[in-house]
């Protein structure tokens, strides 16, 4: 298939996945902000959202203070913010439109309909009336988009590049989420009691809500209970989201999908792209959470993000934008 076509398909899926993950994070922050807590904690939560997307500086260039309303406005409706939900959905639809002939009618119409509806919802004030409902809608459209893709597309390269885009983006987004949320805990809370120190009732409560929010943002709350049958412990949350191959939004599961789709399109079995992906995956497959925590979670995730980024670049150079032969 045309490299440019593959490129559009890859990015169409990435943007849709990004829109979903942004909606997930915003939704959890929005729900958390409804709980009783200090103003500083609220602000830290929303600041985290901006840090995850590396958007704090551009946000602060527009707004003086961090308020839930402004962050949501910026992350949902701002067409000048390339990571806002509206921008992601627009980019997904533009990429789809560029290759609409390659997509099945159902896939194209799903993308187009999402775009038409999001505009209507944002103009009619539906988002402001019920942000939670809106975030659920974005998630639903992303589920639908993935489902209609798997359910109708011919199982050939087109599908493989779309799947690769989805899971590479998901690996990146989950890693950012875990990094920022753990980082936040370290900063304002982890200082004393978590490892070793005495736990007070209020810190336990804070813990529960903090970790359960992270889990819920990746639909992992019920999964956690099912897998561990235990109270929520940070190291287990980290293990679930990083190393568990059966947790659909974990780094391990995402890389599994990236590699298996990459193998399906690869014609050079000795390529660096395949090697990079394979190495990254085997470290997740054979890694242990206590080792990762001992060497430092932040350092580990920063390195992981770099490597995912390099892998994306390699995929792009090998398949999507080859220089003239």
């Amino acid at each position: 298939m045309l490299s440019r076509t593959a490129d559009h398909l890859f990015w169409m899926s990435r943007y849709m996945e990004r829109a979903e993950n942004t909606a997930r994070m915003l939704n959890v922050s929005y729900e958390t902000s409804l709980l009783p807590q200090s103003a500083a904690a609220v602000e830290a939560g929303w600041e985290g959202i901006l840090s995850i997307s590396e958007l704090l500086p551009s946000y602060l260039a527009l707004y003086k203070t961090i308020t839930p309303r402004d962050v949501m406005e910026f992350m949902v409706k701002d067409v000048d913010n390339p990571s806002s939900i509206i921008s992601c959905l627009r980019a997904a639809r533009e990429n789809a439109r560029a290759v609409r002939g390659t997509l099945t009618t159902e896939v194209w119409e799903t993308q187009n309909q999402t775009w038409l509806e999001v505009n209507r919802m944002l103009k009619s004030g539906e988002f402001e009336r019920d942000p939670g409902q809106f975030f659920e809608w974005v998630k639903f459209r992303s589920h639908l988009s993935r489902g209609v893709t798997v359910g109708t597309m011919l199982m050939d390269e087109s599908l493989y590049f779309m799947r690769m885009g989805t899971f590479l983006e998901r690996a990146d987004n989950t890693a950012r989420l875990v990094d920022v949320k753990f980082h936040a805990m370290n900063n304002d809370f982890f200082g004393a009691p978590q490892y070793g120190g005495a736990e007070t009732e209020s810190t336990q409560e804070y813990d529960f809500y903090h970790w359960s929010a992270i889990l819920r943002s990746v639909s992992g709350f019920e999964v956690y209970r099912k897998v561990y049958r235990d109270v929520i412990r940070p190291e287990r949350v980290a293990e679930l989201l990083i190393l568990r191959p059966d947790m659909p939004r974990s780094l391990h599961a995402s890389l599994n999908e990236v590699l298996s789709n990459l193998k399906l399109v690869a014609h050079d079995l000795d390529s660096d792209t395949l090697r990079d992906a394979g190495r990254l995956l085997s470290e997740l497959a054979f890694g242990r959470i206590d080792e990762i925590l001992a060497t430092g979670l932040h350092a580990y995730l920063t390195q992981f993000l770099d490597r995912v980024n390099v892998l994306g670049g390699r995929i792009s150079r090998e398949f999507l934008m080859p220089s003239a032969a």
Partner: protein
């Protein structure tokens, strides 16, 4: 002015149901029985579907609120334009004849120039024409076909006895568009009103992409059994992008942009995820000027450097061929009946509109004296831009054209204002007659063929004669009734 309506031999008026033509009788009965609210609901349904499916065209220069290019729907009218089988038969024969002669003409112009030597067309009309491509002189193309896809615009106007007479208004031999609307309009009608199709024997059109693919494959220069065909688009911001993507998908071929192609050793390749792949036939929807920066406009990024070299070497087919514009120019149009006689030795079946060539002093004089009654067109204009419809224009507009004409007489032609036939159409106030034209799409490969009918365009503004979508025109489904 005398008026010809496609559906009524006598238009309905207050207290008078009018008189319906025979081939519209069954439709008229059906329409009579429809509840206006249902029809209104169907109109909304059609619009919603077109929007969801994304059947849109971009309007150049316009921006929507978000600052992005506007994607607009072409208004679709629910009342079909119906043509009786007998009439279509003669029109089809006329189209085959005309397109055959036009292809012969283009080949002649770039080879022996017999028609110029015979003095049928003045030499300077060809060689001074901006659409004449010296690069094509002596270049052989497969089957000697230049215009593989021809969109011939046909209008109907009443003769002195009040009968409708078909005229060819213009030939579009470069990159004619609109065929996707013909196909989508039919799909929409069948979806909205399946019962109508069980009551009428409407000739199907859905096999157009098949015929197109057959035509393109027949043009392949390679001896390979499986030629690789691609559709070349300027990209998703082109006004006809939907159509490019649609045709590529329907034919199951790649939709490429200039950046996807490259030329190596005079062969054309596309960049794929598995390395370069040879391309044999390019159905290009990009104008000549942008095809190859080495030969034409050097700043163009829409084409592919080296393409003309590969083309001249006979390694790739370009459809339509480079240089077809020399035959669809408005200054050449008046000579098409002569071409038919010259190359085929036949009398033209389809009429031309009488045309005044303003480069001739006596025609210019007549035109200047009758501007308020004439339609004046720029020789190189297209899309309904750069034209004056005398009877519908203000004094100022007429004077502006008079000055332009005097400054450059050779740049214009003039024609009597034809009273284009009308067809009942849904408008704000209900159903009213609106002017229409017809664009059949004629395919020339091993044979000349077409699907029955074409795209009917309708001028939605009352009294307007301009049917172009860029000027607020709409479309209708076109039915050729089988006996």
């Amino acid at each position: 002015m005398r008026q010809f309506d496609e559906m009524y031999s006598r238009l309905p008026a207050t207290g008078d149901a009018g008189e319906v033509r025979k081939h519209y009788a069954a439709y008229a009965r059906w329409l009579q029985a429809q509840d206006p609210q249902t029809m209104a609901a169907r109109r909304e349904e059609a619009e919603m579907i077109f929007r969801r499916v994304g059947i849109t065209f971009a309007v150049y220069g316009d921006k929507d609120e978000d600052g992005s290019g506007t994607e607009r729907l072409i208004p679709f009218d629910l009342i079909p334009r119906v043509i009786a089988a007998q009439e279509w038969k003669s029109m089809e024969a006329g189209l085959v004849q005309r397109v055959t002669a036009l292809n012969r003409f283009i080949h002649d112009v770039y080879h022996d120039q017999e028609i110029l030597k015979a003095g049928v067309i003045p030499r300077e009309q060809i060689e001074n024409n901006a659409q004449f491509r010296p690069e094509m002189v002596g270049v052989d193309v497969p089957n000697n076909i230049y215009s593989h896809i021809s969109g011939i615009d046909i209008v109907r106007a009443p003769d002195s006895a009040g009968n409708g007479e078909y005229y060819v208004l213009e030939d579009n031999l470069r990159v004619p568009s609109g065929v996707s609307y013909m196909l989508e309009d039919r799909k929409m009608m069948m979806r909205l009103f399946p019962d109508l199709f069980s009551q009428h024997r409407v000739a199907p059109v859905a096999h157009y992409p098949d015929l197109l693919l057959e035509t393109l494959r027949a043009s392949s220069p390679a001896t390979t059994a499986e030629p690789t065909v691609v559709v070349l688009t300027p990209g998703m911001y082109n006004s006809a992008y939907f159509e490019h993507a649609f045709l590529a998908q329907q034919m199951g071929v790649e939709l490429v942009e200039g950046q996807d192609l490259f030329v190596k050793d005079k062969f054309v390749y596309m960049r794929t995820t598995r390395g370069p792949k040879r391309v044999d036939v390019i159905y290009r929807r990009v104008d000549d000027d942008f095809l190859d920066p080495n030969v034409f406009r050097p700043t163009s990024t829409l084409g592919c450097a080296g393409l003309m070299e590969a083309y001249k070497a006979g390694h790739v087919a370009i459809c339509n061929a480079v240089g077809t514009g020399v035959a669809d120019d408005k200054s050449i149009y008046p000579y098409v009946p002569d071409m038919i006689k010259f190359y085929l030795g036949e009398e033209p079946i389809l009429k031309n509109v009488p045309t005044f060539m303003c480069r001739k002093p006596e025609d210019l004089q007549y035109t200047l004296a009758n501007l308020k009654d004439l339609v004046v067109k720029e020789v190189h204009g297209a899309g309904g831009y750069g034209m004056l419809v005398g009877p519908a224009s203000t004094k100022e507009e007429i004077e502006r054209f008079r000055a332009a004409l005097l400054a450059n007489p050779a740049g214009y032609i003039a024609q009597p204002t034809l009273s284009l036939s009308s067809c009942p159409t849904f408008v704000e106030s209900g159903i009213a007659p609106r002017h229409i034209d017809l664009r059949p799409f004629v395919l020339s490969g091993r044979t000349v063929q077409m699907v029955p009918g074409g795209l009917t365009r309708v001028a939605l503004k009352e009294g307007s004669l301009v049917v172009n979508s860029s000027q607020g025109g709409g479309t209708k489904d076109t039915w050729i009734l089988q006996d």
